[in-house]
Symmetry: C2
């Protein structure tokens, strides 16, 4: 991996990351393809069309179905889902701690039950690395413990210590796996994850410790889980300066267009969030002037595209708000497809605007005017 | 409308129909877009890609949602759904007699309740024509009574007489509507529908009567509703010769690839059926050697496309049976989308093969070898 810092403006970074699966221009928003597919009937052919750079797949979901050994036999995720650009896999940790039933966490790892068939599964740092190695993603995430958002100080401190010990185990196992002959992607990258809830001193101490471990990149995890935006920005202000500037930084699970602009301003390279696809499936559509709810009666006879001038496949072809509203009311999948593609395009386009602004040294002005524009409301 | 009979072989016809919305090469399979969209997230952009010539939309569905007056205000179906090629709308009759609740049929028309909101609706020949005129389809279908498939002789005879009286009312109303200044498609075509269940004498007598009415085309309706294939072929053998040879003939709601080949051999130009899209949504996929059920465990690690050499978007891009099976198991919409596109492409391609065989005077040989091939079973 090569990380080239092309420009900076304040804490904001404009970088280029070169991987075995191609180049990632950052800041970047990764498009969430949970079970090796974007929800809403969006294919990897469509992803090229909407400007997706990185697909994010979920280790937990793929482990339980179709199984990572099957994906390995099929030549890895890239071959399986026909996507030739970078893929980041999460560690499974977040899903295990939030979705799975009957979990039990101890030093070795976590025992839980599959949401598909109830089967008992054990996952620790080594298991997560082995699964991700089978999936052969470009970037693997470390297996971390995700404490509840309102956890007390001592609980969080102990949990973060465990996450650090797990990170060392992840790194050792990844090195071992990348050296095996049967490994598909022998240059799989490993990103560590900073935790510490909203406790600044724990966050900072943890950031310093993991920075010394010479990983390929660093994520800030455990945010956007219930704290206020101000608390989140404050954590970033305190923590990101203690992560290496010459490595990618990744703010996990964030967020709104506003959150992303604020994250970039604080030095974040990578983002991911289910908002564009999930909101799209509910008919909440992003525009430069904020979101519109396509089910609203006022769009019933609106002949305009979702957003004038938008280059997404639905707007470009001229499908009207009235038609898309009808499709959503009639529960036609095509409506979901248009809405999800529009929203993902909006996010990918937003990142392009951010990169252009950074390239041209006008990010501060862009940030101010864009936040203002987003607050105006849709006509 | 211009109907050019380009070639014949036995009773089979190869024709070209020129409409205000473009040319239709027949025999043709119309792709069913019930509520102004193909189910499975397939857009009108995709339809160009899979070789669709004619979209078929359902008058009953569009009348109850979003409403034909709304579609009229939006400039008609072509503008509403962004489809620039021919559209055929059914009359609503079949849906009223099969889907809607609490119907009451009398000479004026039918009273029933909407499946969407339970609202009481009256539809007769004039109402059906007005709705279809609002929708502004290329071809409107006459409003007919659809007797139950096992109806007794006298019941069917009386019903067919009513259908004939309704046809005269449809023709008069269509002429009136096509002359109105606010009508979007003033050259809307009207096809009459032959009925008579499996009673040959009623079918023949009816075919003769409606042939005298100088309509733009003629459909054979009320088949594929429970009778055997042999009964259906026998009705076609007896009836089609009594319909005008210099006008399009349309076998409604039919059928399997085998049914279509047999229909062509008996002089049919137009076909439509929900099989390819409905079977696709259930993972039953058409190939040159019969259907395969993608959920079958034997495809779990099958790296081949649905069908080698197939030009559908899914096969062309190389998405594997294993991946599509995974998508279907995980209930990802993308799986449905691939399956529906593959099946529609298969049907459209089948019609192309049939046209090529007719053009080259080798339809008899094609029919025999294709039926044999379809019976072989998938590897």
């Amino acid at each position: 991996m090569k990380y080239e810092l092309l420009k900076t403006e304040g804490a904001a970074k404009r970088a280029r990351v070169t991987t075995v699966h191609g180049v990632i221009e950052t800041p970047v928003f990764m498009n969430v393809a949970t079970a090796a597919a974007i929800k809403g009937g969006v294919s990897t052919m469509d992803l090229h069309d909407i400007g997706t750079q990185v697909a994010l797949c979920n280790t937990y979901h793929l482990h339980v179905r179709p199984g990572d050994t099957l994906v390995h036999e099929m030549g890895g995720l890239h071959r399986f889902m026909k996507w030739d650009r970078p893929i980041l896999t999460d560690s499974g940790g977040f899903q295990v701690f939030s979705l799975a039933d009957l979990r039990r966490s101890k030093e070795e790892g976590v025992t839980f039950r599959s949401h598909v068939d109830g089967a008992k599964i054990f996952m620790g740092p080594e298991e997560s690395m082995r699964i991700q190695s089978h999936l052969a993603s470009t970037i693997a995430m470390a297996f971390d413990e995700c404490p509840p958002s309102h956890a007390a100080y001592d609980y969080v401190k102990n949990s973060v210590d465990r996450t650090t010990r797990w990170l060392a185990r992840c790194k050792a196992e990844m090195a071992r796996l990348n050296a095996l002959p049967e490994t598909i992607n022998k240059e799989q990258l490993l990103f560590g994850i900073n935790q510490g809830a909203v406790y600044h001193d724990i966050r900072i101490e943890h950031a310093k410790r993991i920075s010394e471990m010479e990983l390929d990149g660093y994520a800030v995890g455990g945010l956007a889980v219930g704290e206020t935006h101000e608390e989140m920005y404050s954590v970033l202000d305190e923590t990101v300066p203690h992560l290496p500037k010459d490595k990618p930084t990744y703010l996990m699970g964030v967020g709104t267009p506003q959150n992303i602009i604020e994250g970039v301003a604080r030095g974040i390279d990578f983002f991911d969030c289910v908002y564009p696809s999930r909101n799209g499936r509910h008919g909440n559509l992003y525009t430069g002037h904020g979101t519109l709810h396509i089910m609203n009666a006022k769009y019933a006879k609106d002949d305009r595209p979702i957003e004038e001038g938008c280059g997404c496949p639905a707007c470009r072809a001229g499908y009207s708000r009235a038609y898309i509203r009808h499709l959503m009311k009639a529960q036609e999948m095509l409506g979901l497809r248009f809405c999800v593609m529009h929203n993902l395009y909006f996010y990918n386009r937003l990142m392009q605007e951010i990169r252009d602004a950074l390239d041209e040294g006008r990010f501060a002005a862009y940030r101010a005017s864009k936040l203002d524009e987003l607050a105006q409301g849709v006509q």
